[in-house]
């Protein structure tokens, strides 16, 4: 029982990271109708930026405080993501208004290549560490309930908390602020939003920046857990089944989908994997999402697909 719970907890943690990446996808898809293949590259870029700025800034400014350096590095990486968002809108999206979704998807693949190359060119392509001072020591819970208790990681708990705060902040932003309302309007109907005077291109920059910031948070959490290297951009591949399982247009869908996929993947690897010779985590999520979509083609919380002839 303890082992099962521990496994599930590990799955939830992985799922939370998928959910964060998926959240970036959903934000961008909702507001600009673009299926953003570059999200993985954005996670890699932001994590690299964070890791390297945290290394460089103390040198440049002769700082001693690690906390201040990390805050500054986070700010700098955030600025870089906003810059990317601006460039994406200015040079790619603006020229591709009204193109079919597949052309936009291809464009984001191109953007992904570019960001991958640029990130590694600017920040180097070795493995880097991010140390934002997350507690590393393990935590043992419920010792009196199970034998040996539950072995959990404090770092995971803190990152889960950060993710939850981020999602809550995002939800508040969308519900309460003027910009958030404009973003929801754009997500609902581009033309109608334009006709009531919402500046579409500025909204796109904002939402791509938000996507970039979510990518940054995901990158920092992932990077402080496992180090920053090229393989981070592959996390995005795990986020694809999450978004289609949850529904391409639903923020709660991304969260629930991420957690479901994370838990399902870990449990299947541990309990089903041995029968198939292991390594099934790579495709399990996709098959799970596929089977689920057969029953509900729009995903868990996606908008109903209505066909008009």
């Amino acid at each position: 029982m303890g082992f099962l719970l521990e496994t599930m907890f590990g799955g939830l943690m992985a799922g939370m990271l998928y959910a964060l990446v998926a959240l970036g996808f959903v934000l961008i898809f909702k507001a600009s109708g673009v299926f953003n293949f570059a999200q993985g590259a954005m996670v890699l870029f932001s994590a690299l930026a964070m890791a390297r700025f945290a290394e460089w800034i103390p040198h440049w400014l002769h700082l001693d405080s690690a906390l201040l350096a990390n805050v500054l590095a986070f700010g700098a990486a955030g600025m870089a993501m906003v810059g990317i968002a601006w460039a994406v809108e200015r040079f790619a999206l603006r020229g591709l208004v009204n193109q079919p979704p597949i052309a936009l998807l291809m464009a984001t693949l191109g953007i992904g290549y570019f960001i991958d190359g640029a990130g590694q060119l600017l920040f180097g392509d070795a493995t880097y560490k991010i140390d934002v001072g997350l507690p590393k020591e393990p935590l043992i819970l419920f010792e009196n309930v199970f034998d040996g208790g539950l072995l959990l990681n404090k770092e995971d708990l803190v990152s889960a908390l950060i993710a939850a705060i981020l999602v809550a902040a995002m939800a508040t932003f969308f519900q309460v602020t003027r910009t958030g309302r404009a973003l929801r309007a754009v997500a609902d109907d581009h033309q109608a939003a334009l006709s009531v005077g919402i500046p579409l291109s500025r909204m796109w920059v904002i939402v791509w920046s938000l996507g970039g910031l979510v990518a940054l948070v995901a990158g920092v959490i992932w990077g402080s857990k496992l180090g920053v290297q090229f393989s981070i951009s592959q996390v995005a591949l795990k986020a694809f089944p999450v978004v289609i399982l949850g529904g391409l247009t639903s923020v709660p869908g991304a969260i629930v989908g991420g957690l479901l996929i994370g838990v399902g993947e870990t449990l299947s690897e541990v309990y089903v994997g041995p029968f198939f010779g292991g390594g099934i985590a790579n495709w399990f999520a996709y098959v799970l999402a596929l089977v689920f979509l057969l029953a509900r083609p729009q995903g868990l919380f996606g908008d109903r697909i209505i066909d008009r002839v």
Binding site: G110, G117, L290
Partner: protein, 354 residues
């Protein structure tokens, strides 16, 4: 003036339905084929054949296959690499396990296996649409990647998971020079390109296009979505499977599962989008673009005399490649085939202004 469509009076239905209705097109196509079959292998050196022409020809074939599915039937697939892998491994097993199996039969058998797998993974398309379907096809990619890695029967129990093919012969001719290999690929590609062009102008191709343009409306006028979508998946994966078998047998010779990974699928999708969706000629343009561009990008720093390390130049190559893709999509979202069509339009009047 020289190139024009008027003045060709068609007096029979056959003439009206010809594959290339304009006489100049027919002549140009024959000349192109003749040059490709005779002059090119004679002029091109071994390096050019091996590194450029053979990959170009084989990837064009795969792009044609994918274009049938994506460009004509509108079902986006991100699992093409997996269908290529099925074709390659099936052909390999046919060749290795059955004594005296002719190469052509093995290649086509690879294609048939890919067809079966393609139809299987095409079944969800009856229910799932659009981007949801695109992502679901990734399931095929990852499942087959895993399958060929884990199931040792597929790789004939080779310890490293890589396989290599025995010497190849076709009709008693040993394929030992790049020239001969190129000719075999070219012959197969020509046959399939003509077949594909023939397919898309017929009843079945029109069904696919109706489904692509609006599937509900197509259903209303009496097209069975199941028939249309599954035939599209079948035809597409057959061609892609043969291309995969050729890629493994002729181009690589020995390969690992990674040769048919997700990157390959995305690369093929690039080709048909840059070349032009729903165009057979576009598949060739796109393949040429994707094969030649990285080679050029590789050479540019050397020609400019810039001393770049391999890592830096590979990152730069990524950046330029990505930027060019975005640039092309912004400038000409309908692909190189549209440029070609525009050029032909201009040619009708040339050399007169009006």
């Amino acid at each position: 003036m020289l190139y024009r469509e008027n003045g060709h009076f068609k007096t029979s239905y056959r003439a009206d339905l010809a594959l290339f209705p304009v006489r100049e097109d027919r002549i140009a196509m024959l000349a192109l084929l003749a040059a490709a079959f005779t002059v090119v292998p004679w002029l091109a050196g071994d390096y050019l054949l091996r590194a450029v022409l053979i990959p170009f020809v084989i990837l064009s074939l795969a792009a044609i296959g994918l274009n049938l599915l994506v460009g004509y039937c509108g079902q986006i697939s991100l699992g093409t690499g997996a269908f290529m892998a099925v074709g390659a491994y099936a052909a390999y097993n046919l060749q290795v396990r059955i004594e005296g199996m002719p190469l052509i039969v093995a290649l086509l058998g690879g294609g048939l296996c890919a067809t079966a797998v393609g139809v299987l993974f095409g079944l969800p398309s009856l229910r799932i649409r659009g981007l949801y379907l695109a992502v679901s096809t990734l399931a095929a990619q990852f499942f087959i990647d895993w399958f060929v890695n884990r199931v040792h029967w597929v790789t004939h129990d080779s310890s490293s998971g890589s396989v290599s093919v025995p010497p190849l012969t076709v009709l008693g001719v040993v394929l030992d020079t790049p020239g001969r290999r190129y000719l075999l690929c070219l012959a197969i590609v020509t046959a399939f390109a003509l077949a594909a062009r023939n397919l898309v102008r017929g009843a079945i191709g029109r069904e696919w296009m109706a489904i692509r343009d609006m599937d509900i409306a197509a259903e209303v006028i009496g097209i069975q979505p199941m028939h249309a979508k599954l035939t599209a998946f079948a035809a597409s994966s057959f061609i892609v499977g043969v291309a995969g078998a050729l890629w493994g047998f002729i181009h690589l010779g020995a390969w690992e599962p990674a040769a048919f990974g997700l990157d390959r699928s995305l690369e093929l999708l690039f080709m048909i989008i840059i070349g032009g969706l729903g165009s057979i000629a576009g598949s060739f343009f796109g393949a040429a673009f994707v094969v030649i561009l990285p080679l050029l990008l590789n050479d540019v720093p050397r020609l400019l005399g810039l001393p770049l390390s391999t890592a830096v130049s590979s990152h730069l190559e990524h950046m330029v490649f990505g930027a060019l893709i975005v640039f092309f999509l912004v400038v000409e979202p309908h692909g190189l085939a549209r440029l070609w069509a525009t050029g032909r339009q201009k040619l009708r009047l040339w050399p007169f202004p009006h």
